[in-house]
Symmetry: C2
Subunit: 203 residues, 2 copies
């Protein structure tokens, strides 16, 4: 039944390695990860990694593409839906996106730093164009032709994602517990639409 993240015991060897790789790569990043870390995390031998995935690089690419899909996959459908209003898009986006990242907290910083360290490698896999020329952007242009839509896009994305990117800092400082942080993020789901709305009316 539970096909996702059971106790990770009844998985095939190949899946065990992939799950372990996800965990370690997302935590440490590509460069700091050793194939031995992954094998150990999977409770398996190092040789099996190469048997199933040929190389560290190929295994990483596989996972990176999956994560890119996850990170961008939610955005485009919401912002390109031509049947929803601007308000609805903003609400849908902040809610879905915050939920996604609560479930995958390391996702944003992982993707952002790996893309930064290897831009040309993943360039063709970044479906940003679909966002930059979306129905959402056209609706923004209609409402506020005086302001470049990129600003609102950055704000919407940033207000949803940025707190998670800053979390390591606040956590390390010991001034914000995980529980309180999550409470704040839940609050944001309702606050972001209000804020965006207020910004759209400003001046």
């Amino acid at each position: 039944m539970a096909k996702k993240k059971s106790v990770e015991v009844d998985l095939s060897t190949e899946e065990k390695i992939k799950e372990a790789a996800k965990k370690v790569f997302l935590k440490k990043g590509y460069a700091a990860t050793r194939t031995r870390d992954i094998a150990e995390e999977a409770g398996l031998n190092l040789a099996l990694l190469n048997y199933y995935f040929r190389s560290k690089e190929k295994l990483f690419d596989l996972i990176m593409l999956e994560k890119l899909e996850k990170f961008f996959g939610v955005i485009a459908p919401i912002l390109n839906n031509s049947t929803t209003s601007l308000d609805q898009k903003v609400t849908l986006f902040s809610n879905n996106y915050i939920d996604l990242i609560i479930a995958n907290p390391e996702l944003p910083l992982f993707i952002l730093s790996e893309v930064r360290h290897n831009p040309e490698r993943f360039a063709h896999k970044l479906p940003v164009v679909k966002v930059a020329d979306s129905h959402f952007v056209r609706q923004l242009q209609e409402k506020r032709p005086d302001i470049n839509p990129l600003h609102f896009l950055m704000n919407l994305l940033g207000m949803s994602v940025f707190p998670f990117i800053m979390k390591p800092i606040f956590h390390a400082s010991g001034i914000l517990s995980e529980k309180v942080f999550l409470t704040r993020m839940e609050e944001r789901k309702a606050l972001i639409p209000k804020w965006i709305n207020a910004m759209l009316k400003a001046k």
Copy 2:
């Protein structure tokens, strides 16, 4: 005269290594950087790195602390100034911070990912407390006691910093040139105060 970033020729050997290390560490991150890269970038021999700085780790710590100082050093003074209004703080912050990051574009992502990968190591060097309990925060609480100040802090910081964090993505996609990006960021200096103001009045 020009003591900062001259043609980097009249620098002492120690300074040459440090400048090269800054450049390489900020570009690649700690794990992906090899001491050979730094030596080569400095146009010097590898052994000199250890002669002057003992180890890769010690050299990195030195630079990391400097960068943390830079990243957080601007925030606290502005947010803790008890003679400025809330509006003034917001304007000062967005202006100074965006300028700082235009001059050091890799700074945010560098700090964020290195702290993430080694939280306990830099925990005691993160002066976030000064921000979380600042004059700015108290002013926010007065104006909007119904909303946790952390939200506005995240928004102000995020609206200034997040675009730079996303820049690699937009760049890699080829849909946003450096020149256009900078134009947008200059615009933001004036827009952020307006937006924050509108948010503070909302509902």
